[in-house]
Structures are given as structure tokens and as C-alpha cells.
């Protein structure tokens, strides 16, 4: 019930150190409060474990529970088409308390995206399929809520603390050396 069924690939949004011994995958929802809590933890982890960590974000929007979550996921992926996925990702989480339909247009403008291209990508079938494929891979991997983390393919026991993530990462690093 607890292994990542879809391996990390070039289709994934990745940040951190390519070829790092540790890959952390998050299934997240931009309007999920708990994902908002985890957001700075990931930043800190990437800063502290710079050379050892690759981080992947996969979309798991609960559309009915969070009305802007799906649009947010599409917006981040659309920004990714212009090489600015992580900037959009950060901007969305940093404004998590106040997301609405127009937010993403404002964010895209603030990030200096090509607006016409963004509008087109945001509504494109390809971007929609990316988000839905992420969701499906999460369901198949036993994701039952957000955030759910996988570390080198194994589900992490995350208890909403930075320490639980740090310990999980540190438990994997020495084995690789």
C-alpha cells in the first residue's frame, strides 16, 4: 500500500540536485492547508541537504473540496512550459490564503510570463493531462490525502513536523555513501 507506483521521470517537475542520492516526491494540493504548512519545510530541507536531495512535486488537487486547487495546479504546470514552474509554485503557496480565479493571471504577470502563451497553456489538453496523470499515479500509490511524501519510492511517516521529514531523509542518506 505504500510504494510509489510511477517512478520519477523527465516528465516530473523537479528541483534540487540532479542525480542526488535522495529523491523526495510530494503529492500536494495548492489549497490544502497542510501542504501550506509543509511548504517552508521543503524549502529548508532543500537548503540544508543541498547536494543530497532532489525534490519532485506532483499534483493531487481535491477539486470539490478546494475550488481553486485544480486551476492552481494547471497554472503552475502552464508556467512550467515557460521554465517558471517553481516560481509559480512558490507564489501560489505564498498566497495560499487568498486564491481565486484571477490570482493566477496576476501571478503570471508578476512572473513576467508571456501572457498569451500562458493563457493558451493553462487551458491546454496537455497541461490538463499532466495534472490528471499525477493524480492517478497518486491514487495508485495509495495516496489518501495531502501532503503525502515518498522518499526513494517509500511512503514517509510524516507528522506535520520538519523533524519527521529531516529524520526520514537522514535515514536514507548514509546508506548511499
Amino acid at each position: 500500500m505504500s510504494a510509489l507506483k510511477t517512478p520519477v521521470s523527465g516528465k516530473d517537475q523537479q528541483t534540487g540536485h540532479p542525480g542526488a542520492p535522495v529523491t523526495l516526491v510530494e503529492y500536494g494540493d495548492y489549497q490544502c492547508r497542510h501542504c501550506g504548512i509543509a511548504y517552508p519545510f521543503i524549502k529548508r530541507l532543500l537548503a540544508e541537504k543541498e547536494k543530497d536531495l532532489l525534490f519532485v512535486f506532483r499534483n493531487f488537487p481535491l477539486q470539490e473540496a478546494h475550488p481553486a486547487a485544480y486551476m492552481a495546479a494547471l497554472a503552475a504546470e502552464a508556467a512550467g512550459r515557460q521554465g517558471k514552474f517553481w516560481l509559480m509554485h512558490d507564489m501560489i503557496f505564498e498566497h495560499q490564503d487568498n486564491l481565486h480565479g484571477n490570482s493566477f493571471i496576476d501571478f503570471a504577470a508578476a512572473l513576467d510570463l508571456d501572457m498569451q502563451q500562458f493563457a493558451q497553456d493553462w487551458r491546454s489538453e496537455a497541461v490538463k493531462q499532466k495534472v490528471e496523470a499525477d493524480f492517478e499515479s497518486g491514487i495508485r500509490s495509495g495516496v489518501n490525502g495531502t501532503p503525502t511524501f515518498f522518499l526513494n519510492g517509500e511512503k514517509v511517516s510524516y507528522d506535520e513536523t520538519y523533524e519527521s521529514l529531516l529524520q526520514a531523509v537522514e535515514a536514507v542518506i548514509p546508506q548511499q555513501r
Binding site: 500500500m1 507506483k5 481535491l62 477539486q63 470539490e64 473540496a65 493524480f135 492517478e136 491514487i139 495508485r140 500509490s141 495509495g142 495516496v143 489518501n144 490525502g145
Partner: protein, 159 residues
Amino acid sequence: MAETILAKGTTAPDFELYCTPDQRLKLRDLKGKRVILAFYPADWSPVCSDQMALYNEARKLFQQHNAEVIGISVDSKWCHLAFEKDRHLHFPLLADFEPKGEVSRLYGAYDEKEGQSKRALFVIDEQGVIQWSYLSPDGINPGADGILQALETMDNSQH
């Protein structure tokens, strides 16, 4: 009365329960479709809400396998209605309310001590036979991976 949950190969006991304040749903009316029965302890409790929210989103994946999901708990039809509205749930929640827990008992999914349904899943085929069942600890959201695997196994055995 079943002591453990009904297993694969058992014919799913028929039932008729309220799915809205004025409509009842019979299991046999769904013959020809696959049915996912999700017994759960209570509306509004945190784990259940997550589980039902997840199934709400996973419905489109279930439907690709000709399957519909149905939730069942001992909550009343009015309680279900409020819960469905609040969470925007698009699948039926059945009220195993009177006699309390009768259908849950038939499936071995009733917790006598707590007076509520256990967290149990059943995947029933087009002919009304249980093809997969799973009992989850009360506090643990079982996700949907087991359900999808069961549906895929059923697809493969048909070909």
C-alpha cells in the same frame, strides 16, 4: 450474522436503503454495473471526510471500469444530505439507520461496541458477487489503490 467481513466469491446480500430523504436504493437495481461499497464509521469525522473526498475525486477512474462508488454509514438520511452538500459529494451515501446497522451487520462490517459501521470496502461485480473486500483500521483511510487494483484484476479475468 457475519463475524468477519464477507469475502471474495460471496454473493453480495441485497438491501434497500435511503439514498436521499425520499428515495431508496436497492443493490439489485445496480446489476450490470460494478459497485464499490464503502462502509465507514461516521459523517463529519476527519478520516471519513478525507476518504469520501478522495472517492469523490477518484470516481472518474472508477467509472472507467464501469464501477460506481456508494458510501454507507449509520447516519440518518438528513445527516447524509447535509454532509453531501457541505463536501460537494457526487455519489450516494446510504443511511443504514433503521434498523440501525442491519446492512452493515449482513456484510460483517458492524462494530457492536461503537454502534457504527467499520471501515470496510467491497467491490461487487456485474452479477452481484463480491470480488474483493478489505477491512481497514477505523483510524486509517484505506485510499483507493486497492479498489483500482481489484477492478483491473476483474478487467483482466474477463478477457
